[in-house]
């Protein structure tokens, strides 16, 4: 091997457009969020990993907090920058009907639609990003054995 190695994919001829790979190849979804329709793009694997990681927390209180934080991050990560800022402002506006249940509802729809293709992409590189499976196979918490 030479002293310098370029690990980037081989450059195309410049005329043909490179097809998107990974989660970028998953088509976006249009969903209604309390009266406004937004376009949601599948977020990066790092966001999915955060979501799956939240399910592994043993303490139920911490798990719920981590899950809620990962859920909100997921919805914001799937929006464009402008839309994300708009949703953030709408969340803070007391006169806007948008609230946490709307975000949870959209989150459920998005994960249901994207879980399968993302699961395949993750498994190809040895990552388990299946949120439901992580919740099912969570390690059992074992307490200290009771003294006799």
């Amino acid at each position: 091997m030479s002293t310098e190695f370029v690990a980037d994919p081989p450059a195309s001829d410049g005329e043909t457009l490179e097809p998107p790979t990974g989660v970028r190849a998953i088509p976006p979804i249009k969903e209604d969020l309390a009266g406004v329709v937004y376009t949601f793009h599948c977020p990066k694997l790092a966001v999915w990993a955060d979501l799956a990681n939240a399910e592994l927390k043993l303490n139920p209180g911490i798990r719920n907090m981590a899950r809620a934080a990962a859920m909100v991050q997921f919805v914001h990560a799937s929006l464009s920058l402008n839309d994300s800022e708009e949703v953030e402002m709408r969340k803070l506006d007391p006169n806007d009907p948008l609230d946490l249940p709307d975000i949870v509802r959209v989150f459920s729809k998005l994960t249901e639609r994207w879980q399968e293709p993302v699961d395949k992409i993750g498994r190809e590189i040895g990552m388990d990003v299946n949120v439901k499976m992580q919740a099912e196979t969570r390690p059992i918490k074992r307490g200290t054995p009771r003294r006799r």
Partner: protein, 205 residues
Amino acid sequence: MVRRVAAKRSVGGASVRPPPQRISARDDRDKPLVLPAIVRFAGLRFDYATASIDRLWSAYAGQDWTTFLPGLAAEGQQYELLARLADLDDPLDIDDVARAARRIGSALAGIDWWGACRIAGVCEANRFLFLAWAALQGINTEVMSLPHMFATGYAYMVDACEDVAALDLQLWTPPPTAGIPRWESADEARDFATALATMGRARPA
């Protein structure tokens, strides 16, 4: 168990140990593999130092691409890559890094990534048999470069199998792009029940 005790010498009344005897094979094993000095990926530059062949061989056996990128990069240079992965507006994703790491691993091994992982995996799973076979052939795996290790591993597999064409097909065919089947507890329970039933039938009356 053989225990080696260094002979003691007396110098000026004080007991001192002789310097350890240098064994050529062990010295060569400790010699690190020369890696590319610089790896460029996604506009980032990583300085690579050296790594032992044992570490890389284990990484191939475990299909651990993170060893090649960013694992081998100089300390502190990984954070820039991790920061870009965490940046939601940056299109760089984990699967891009995985593909780049596999390209590096493939270039180091001199063969296809999946073939390298399968050869290293089989040889690691049968480490004792592999080393015994190499000893019978008069091959010293202690002093080999990484491509030679893979060539020896392949020769071991060819020697142990009856259908070389089928082995080649299994070794060099990339995994299905549709993804690897997920582990399901129901599938495992069904397979276990099938195995038990088979054992039951095979058991003498």
